[in-house]
């Protein structure tokens, strides 16, 4: 069965500190992994996806199939990064999505 876990409900860091939001998944095939973000009073939106291998707003995420992880990282957190972050998995086109429970990131001044 597809499953996504995010062990931290809340993560607080100081501005300028590195941040890592953890995501682990279980899936029997080759999944597509995503990070979605919801800023205060805004819609949920895509942050990045593992296929694109890109850095968005300074965030990167590497898919580690051996550890079944897709942790989100940023070397220097900014206050505007404060938001709710969801890790999500899809089995591919035509498959449904499974979202993790989310991690609220709070970047303190």
């Amino acid at each position: 069965a597809q499953r996504v876990t995010q062990p931290e409900k809340l993560l607080s860091v100081f501005k300028g500190a590195p941040v890592e939001l953890k995501c682990n998944y279980s899936y029997s095939g080759s999944p597509e992994l995503f990070w979605y973000v919801q800023y205060s009073r805004q819609r949920l939106q895509l942050l990045l996806r593992h296929i694109s291998r890109e850095s968005i707003k300074g965030f990167t995420a590497d898919l580690n199939k051996g550890e079944t992880s897709f942790h989100l990282k940023k070397p220097f957190a900014q206050e505007e990064d404060s938001a709710m972050y969801y890790c999500a998995l899809s089995g591919g086109k035509g498959q449904n999505f499974v979202f993790g429970p989310g991690t609220r990131l709070s970047v303190l001044p």
Binding site: L44, Q45, R49, G92, K93, N96, F99, G102
Partner: protein, 116 residues
Amino acid sequence: GAGVSQSPSNKVTEKGKDVELRCDPISGHTALYWYRQSLGQGLEFLIYFQGNSAPDKSGLPSDRFSAERTGGSVSTLTIQRTQQEDSAVYLCASSLDRGAVTDTQYFGPGTRLTVL
């Protein structure tokens, strides 16, 4: 063009009543998803429509929940005989779903349902 829209933005209803929630996806998007976001919970997948294929209803929590998508565009999520535990934000998302990989989902603003 406009993004995904949902109506109503807020719905307060009494226990036992039926409610209908509407989603207008982005024009041309063939895939449409419904999710439920409860307080303190993550996003719970409900149902997924892809083109003319039979919908994936595997996430619907009970037979009180149903959804349809007319003409491959607008979708309606219906909850019959609402219960207090149905109170949540219901999110709709659509995606283009072309090519071999899963396309980005674009989310609507949600409908906040409160069952008294």
